[in-house]
Amino acid sequence: MSQPSTAGDGKARAGLTALWCSFLAASIATLLFFAFVDPTPVVAVLTPTDVLPSRTALYSLGFFFFWAMCALAAGLTAWLLRPPPR
């Protein structure tokens, strides 16, 4: 593990940093969002089904949604910050 020293290292680390920072931001977003919004009634209104998914499932999906969005922003930022091709 973690002995790569090739040129790919910087790229990999930028990607991992983006993932990590978006993880932190997504955690805070999840905390704030679900502190104020109970997802169960919302889902019940949006998709009328017989069996509602559990709150744990909805929280988890919400977290991954936030993580994906934050990762998109962070990843794009990291990508655009690369030195332009010479």
């Binding site: 973690s2 790569p4 020293s5 679900f34 502190a35 109970d38 744990t56 499932a57 988890s60």
Partner: protein
């Protein structure tokens, strides 16, 4: 040797990572660190199993949307307390950093604490620093396979247990344990157990000091809280230099040497792989392993301890240090105010709340006896730890009937509902009033009136909450 030049990473911002083999140390600060690890890990692994008032003492019950902290039950409406608590935690971090540097990093950070455990497991299976280096350099064989395999097995078991405990803070841990035993753990519980277990394994087993160096935001901004009176771990260059090896018993002054024997034990002990003698570096997590390492050498050489020690920059320059500085006073008083405010507002927090919703199906019902009936759905939230019986009463100050009596009345007159601690109880109450007389003045009537519903605990009149509601009547 290979003739081709190695890939030069110098055009990259990132230095190649070199594995750090921290040398085990013993001494005052190592004892303190191990004690802190025992206490903190004991809390982490033990707390979820503690029972209080018949339920898990500390449970952030996300599925039920309520937090239990011993006798206290917090609801989403109490989110402010959580936010407040986080602000207090951040300010404490600032406060202690200003006074004594990175105490958090050295003794209390989960990264440090779990790395400590993983290092210990590594030591148990692979031996001390020299053996570990040798083992890594040796070709794969039976012994290497056995030792590495044993280490991995211990790491994985410990990481899974950690992940399970973590989930146990959010879902009742005894039920969770039952589900694990029965092999019926829910998909998301399984996922988060594995997720957190993997995070523990990766962070404490492999990434270690890299988390502090590359991932931790606090490590980057903590220096903003520092000043020249902050306690840091520091090498007394004035006393140590010029460094150099010498035989025991040699008078360093005669040999033209300082007290540093250049044994490099401080470097070997460092979990982040830095040389403290080069001065304060942002990689230093202030774990004080180098102090213990150096003290042991000073003891052996018969020199005074403290060549590497906790000290302030001012003291090193021979100036007197101050503990009370403006920044310490500001952080300290803010912290004091916030803590006092939190305690006061928790103490004054009303443990009962009431919502009154008008029945959605029918606005009113004409009873045919000259009376109109409205139905209200009460949500009685008992945030107290205990069960209470709540009596519903009604007031309508602005609306008097012909005889000066309250125009509205409850039916039955004194509804009582028993609500368990930490429960939201849905109750329906009926309210009646006489139909408005159409002959009043211009022959019309307002069609609705205001009233106020109140719940009071039978055993504690201080447990009281009210909600306003509107009474509707036919408009003709």
């Amino acid at each position: 040797m290979n003739a081709t030049a190695p890939t030069d990473p110098s055009d990259s911002y990132y230095a190649a990572h070199q594995k750090v083999y921290p040398r085990e140390v013993s001494g005052r600060f190592a004892n303190l660190r191990v004690t802190a690890a025992w206490v903190l890990l004991g809390l982490f692994y033990g707390l979820p199993w503690l029972t209080w008032d018949g339920r898990q003492a500390v449970l952030f019950d996300l599925p039920a949307r309520q937090f239990h902290l011993f006798g206290l039950t917090l609801w989403p409406q109490d989110f402010i307390y959580l936010a407040w608590l986080l602000v207090i935690a951040a300010l404490s971090l600032f406060f202690f950093t200003a006074i004594a540097g990175r105490l958090w990093c050295g003794y209390a950070c989960p990264q440090t604490v779990w790395t400590e455990v993983f290092l210990w497991l590594e030591r148990v299976t692979e031996g001390d620093r020299a053996r570990r280096i040798k083992l890594d350099a040796s070709p794969w064989g039976r012994e290497k396979l056995l030792r590495k395999g044993a280490k991995q097995a211990l790491w994985i078991v410990f990481a899974l247990w950690t992940g399970f405990t973590f989930v146990g803070f959010f879902t009742p841990i005894r039920e969770l344990a039952g589900e694990v035993m029965a092999g019926a753990l829910g998909p998301w519980e399984t996922f988060w157990t594995l997720f957190y277990g993997f995070a523990t394994y990766g962070n404490a087993g492999f990434l270690r000091e890299q988390v502090c160096k590359y991932m931790c935001p606090y490590a980057r901004f903590q220096s903003a809280m520092f000043d020249k009176d902050t306690l840091i771990i520091t090498y007394d260059a004035g006393r140590g230099e010029p460094r150099g090896g010498r035989r025991r018993g040699t008078d360093p002054r005669v040999a033209g040497l300082g007290d540093c024997t250049d044994c490099t034990l401080c470097v070997q002990a460092c979990p982040t792989g830095i040389d403290i003698r080069k001065g304060l570096q942002y990689e230093c997590i202030a774990c004080a392993a180098c102090i213990d390492a150096c003290d042991s050498v000073m003891d052996r050489m018969g020199y005074a301890r403290g060549l590497v020690r906790y000290d302030t920059e001012h003291a090193l320059q021979g100036r007197s240090g101050r503990v009370l500085r403006p920044r310490v006073i500001v952080y300290g008083s803010l912290l004091g105010l916030l803590v006092a405010g939190l305690v006061a507002s928790l103490a004054m927090r009303k443990p009962v709340a009431l919502d009154a919703l008008h029945d959605r199906n029918a606005l009113y019902r004409d009873l045919g006896t000259g009376e109109i009936e409205n139905v209200y759905l009460l949500k009685i939230m008992n945030k107290d730890g205990k069960t209470h019986r709540f009596v519903v009463s009604l007031t309508d100050d602005q609306d008097r009937g012909h005889d000066g009596e309250s125009a509205h009345r409850l039916d039955p007159a004194r509804p009582v509902f028993e609500v368990r601690g930490g429960e939201v109880y849905n109750a329906a109450v009926r309210v009646r009033r006489a139909a408005w007389d159409d002959d009043e003045r211009d022959g019309s009537h307002p069609g609705s009136s205001k009233l106020r519903l109140t719940v009071t605990a039978e055993d504690d009149p201080a447990l009281v909450a009210s909600a306003d509601a509107r009474f509707f009547a036919p408009q003709d």
